[in-house]
């Protein structure tokens, strides 16, 4: 035994003697939480803000949905729309006018009633350009919302949001938008408390401290109790919430644990009820040894490689197709990602609100070689040096190394790998300064549109240089004007077939969420969005 270890043991022994309670035995944080109905939640990162009109991330989402509530909610088991602040609503026959009737007993945490005017004011704020809301586009189905958000009009009265009376709100859309109700449950459309914001500075600018504990006034099932930087955000049950009777948790403590290994150890030591994820190499271990703790759920996201079509050797669709067809996705999900992901042969995840795109190609190295030869690179000969870009992460690295080798083996193509830190990577991809780049997309709402409208000509998230007028027409005109779901989905299917034919991207897999939960966590059914409805969750230790 080394000197260092002896010393460590001495210190440990000493401190154990001093603080017996801390060392072994005793109740873990999770057990105490079960008793007191306090949920300990691994939340991934320190929230940037708790202002629903500024933030963009998942950690912020988990906190804000506890503190604020929009017009509607989603049933976590089915993702169907259920009443939130609005107890009922009517939709006009042409699908353009929504009339929301707000419940009379909805209250802000300071006792003020939640009114239609609160929503109109909050939405105006969310759309005001000076605030810099990245999710302003969630409002764009509303008439003139885009013009207001981009500064083309200054008069909010022209936007299709109308306060009929204190408890009635009417919204007018540009086109029938089947997923509009879903958008209302996105935090960017949540209301904020006007008087509070005005008290703490300019509501139309960033940099206000209205979201601090003690200042925050919300209308959700919980109120903000504590926010310690990089340590914890604690929320407590809101007794004034309209549905408080059904809220069973007394509080939630969100921990900003960035390192997945740290998070897993905290979970194992009984410090967390729920983690955000799990180190991929631990999945197999948990599956074998304690499957009751591991959850693997389909997620509304995909993983793909983007091509830069300005690169000469990648401008040929046959080359892109050959690259796509030579990847053995079954091997990848089974041995590399190992998290129950689904091999992807289309772009939109299967069964996205009843929409499934048929597989557009198959794993066929033989045909891939033929295509590559046809394109002028038989056996990979003469294929120019090409680089695959990914942002630094163990998962991306492993996948890239595996695919690099598959391309080498099946096609005889040498691809070099290049990793960059996140911001440099974004800069490279945004400026077309790449050849092939790793990417992923997570749907904002459950509708094929959330996956397909990004590929229109010069779409901000396209970044491949791909453009097809027929595709634009299908996504921007055919689908929005379709009279029913069947015909709408037909437009999308045709569009997706075009996308997959041209293949400016290679789909690799459809995502899953792998994370850990204690068995005592009840009322958290799996869903595609990883969306918890905290007011339905409770803790019950097994007897």
């Amino acid at each position: 035994m080394s000197f260092r270890k002896i010393h460590a043991l001495l210190v440990l022994g000493l401190s154990c003697a001093l603080a017996l309670s801390a060392c072994g035995g005793g109740e873990t944080r999770v057990e105490a939480g079960d008793r007191e109905q306090i949920l300990h939640w691994g939340n991934g990162a320190e929230p940037q803000e708790l202002d629903p009109h500024i933030v963009t991330g998942v950690p912020e989402h988990h906190i804000i949905i506890a503190l604020l509530e929009g017009l509607v909610l989603k049933d976590p088991a089915t993702l169907e729309i259920i009443p939130g602040v609005a107890e009922r609503w009517e939709i006009s026959a042409d699908g353009l006018i929504y009339t929301f009737h707000l419940r009379a007993d909805a209250r802000w945490s300071n006792g003020d009633p939640v009114t239609a005017g609160d929503f109109a004011w909050s939405w105006r704020r969310a759309l005001t350009p000076s605030l810099g809301n990245l999710y302003a586009y969630m409002y764009f189905p509303i008439r003139n919302a885009e013009a207001f958000a981009t500064g083309k009009i200054d008069d909010f009265d022209q936007v299709g949001v109308e306060v009929l009376d204190e408890h009635t709100l009417r919204v007018t859309l540009n086109h029938p938008t089947p997923y509009f109700l879903q958008l209302l449950d996105h935090y960017s459309m949540f209301p904020v408390h006007r008087a509070t914001l005005e008290k703490h500075g300019d509501p139309f600018q960033r940099g206000s401290d209205w979201t601090r504990a003690g200042n925050f006034v919300g209308n959700g099932p919980f109120v903000l109790a504590e926010w310690q930087l990089n340590k914890v955000v604690a929320v407590a049950k809101n007794p004034g919430y309209w549905d408080a009777e059904r809220v069973r948790l007394n509080g939630i403590r969100y921990y900003p644990v960035e390192n997945v290994s740290t998070e897993e150890r905290m979970f194992r030591a009984g410090q967390l009820h729920v983690t955000g994820s799990i180190p991929p190499d631990k999945i197999a271990v948990y599956r074998k040894e304690s499957p009751e703790l591991l959850r693997t759920e389909p997620y509304l996201g995909n993983y793909f490689y983007r091509f830069n079509l300005d690169v000469p050797q990648l401008a040929d669709p046959r080359v892109r197709r050959a690259l796509a067809m030579s990847i053995d996705r079954e091997q990848i999900v089974e041995h590399v990602t190992q998290g129950g992901q689904i091999p992807a042969y289309a772009f939109t995840p299967p069964d996205t609100l009843g929409y499934t795109a048929p597989p557009a190609f198959a794993h066929d190295p033989e045909a891939a070689r033929a295509l590559l030869a046809e394109a002028g690179y038989p056996g990979g000969q003469g294929f120019p040096p090409t680089e695959l870009l990914y942002n630094t992460s163990e998962g991306h690295r492993k996948l890239a190394v595996a695919i690099q080798q598959m391309w080498k083996r099946e096609l005889g193509i040498e691809i070099t790998l290049n990793n960059q830190d996140w911001k440099v990577y974004l800069d490279s991809v945004n400026n077309g300064n790449y050849q092939i780049a790793r990417a992923g997309w997570i749907g904002d709402y459950v509708d094929p549109n959330s996956f397909l409208d990004m590929w229109v000509t010069d779409g901000g998230n396209n970044r491949t240089g791909w453009s097809d007028p027929r595709y634009d027409q299908l996504v921007l005109e055919c689908a929005p004007r379709a009279p029913d779901r069947e015909r709408r989905y037909r437009c999308f299917q045709e569009a997706e077939a075009l996308l997959m034919e041209a293949m400016p991207i290679i789909p690799v897999y459809f995502a899953t969420r792998n994370y850990l939960t204690r068995p005592s966590v009840r009322g958290m059914p799996p869903n595609l969005l990883g969306y918890p409805l905290f007011k339905q969750i409770h803790l019950q230790a097994a007897d």
């Binding site: 000197f3 440990l12 401190s15 603080a19 963009t56 809301n133 940099g207 990089n230 740290t262 992923g440």
Partner: protein, 312 residues
């Protein structure tokens, strides 16, 4: 001596100014702005954000207004955490980081020096190899490895220690302090052994021994003084680093300190936060290198004489 310190404090001003200026322009050269995101940022949002944080103004005027704010002690708002100021975030993390750094500093100085002296007294014997091998293992075990290892052994398998947190339950400060201290302890041990060996073979030590002074007085009073000079030179920047926080240890143990900001600010291109943490670190560097130089003078009577001469 006071004049020497005053001189050095005056020298600190240009040092800080150069650091501020260089960092200000370097971060703006780095690709990827503070607001880029996986989802495309619409042009109007980009414009609004740049206007909000004065990034739309010419670089020179941004620089001057930043300097102006700085003189008033205002580090500006964080770009990444829009509701917070950089001052607030640094002061929120500082007490934790300082406490953790102080423990690690004490452990490494006391333990490292002791190991170094013990080893130097009988070079090339078991008394030398044992602590020095431990020190080398300490260097081979970087904190990203030692931290998880200690947690696994003492936190999970033996269940003696909390696996994370800082000041939540008794005992949760032990593992992070040990983890952070280990590498530094090893350095101090190796350097002090080397320094001691150097000194113990010098004439004045022989003279002291010849005078019949007890060995422990020779070692501690005369030997340690000279033997610690390399340690002190290393300690200045090293301890400034300790007190500015450790990204790795804070991340592994889930400690709300400064070290995470230092790294994340760079990753996020949070310009003001990078500036704030860099300036903070620069102040620590200047202060600790000054302290180290004062310590070196104190350890070396001849230098003391020299400074006195220069001052007169």
């Amino acid at each position: 001596m006071p004049r020497f310190i005053l001189h050095r404090l005056l020298q600190a001003l240009p040092v800080l100014l150069v650091v501020v200026t260089a960092t200000f322009f370097l971060v703006r050269l780095a690709p990827g702005g503070p607001f880029s995101d996986e989802k495309a940022v619409p042009a109007e949002v980009q414009r609004a954000l740049e206007a909000r944080y004065r990034l739309d103004q010419p670089l020179a005027s941004q620089y001057l207004s930043y300097l102006g704010d700085l003189v008033r002690g205002d580090f500006g708002p964080s770009f990444r955490y829009p509701g917070r100021s950089v001052d607030e975030m640094i002061f929120a993390g500082l007490p934790t980081t300082a406490e953790l750094g102080l423990y690690a500093l004490l452990i490494s100085l006391v333990l490292g020096t002791a190991a170094g002296v013990v080893a130097a007294l009988r070079p090339n014997s078991a008394q030398d190899y044992l602590p020095m091998s431990a020190a080398m293992i300490g260097i081979c075990l970087p904190s990203f490895l030692l931290g998880p290892l200690l947690i696994l052994v003492f936190g999970i398998w033996l269940d003696w220690m909390p696996v994370s947190g800082w000041g939540n339950v008794p005992g949760d400060k032990i593992l992070p302090a040990l983890t952070l201290a280990s590498g530094y302890t090893a350095y101090v041990a190796r350097l002090s052994r080397g320094g001691m060996l150097e000194v113990l073979s010098q004439d004045y030590i022989r003279t002291a021994r010849a005078k019949g002074l007890p060995e422990w007085i020779v070692v501690l009073k005369h030997g340690l003084r000279g033997g610690l000079i390399p340690v002190v030179a290393f300690a200045g920047p090293a301890f400034a680093g300790l007190l500015s926080g450790s990204f790795v240890v804070e991340t592994i143990f889930q400690i709300p300190g400064l070290g995470r900001f230092y790294v994340q600010a760079a990753f996020n291109r949070d310009y003001t936060m990078i500036m704030g943490t860099t300036i903070f670190f620069a102040v620590l560097i200047v202060a600790f290198n000054l302290l180290a130089d004062i310590a070196a003078v104190w350890l070396n009577p001849r230098l003391r004489h020299q400074y006195r001469k220069r001052a007169s």
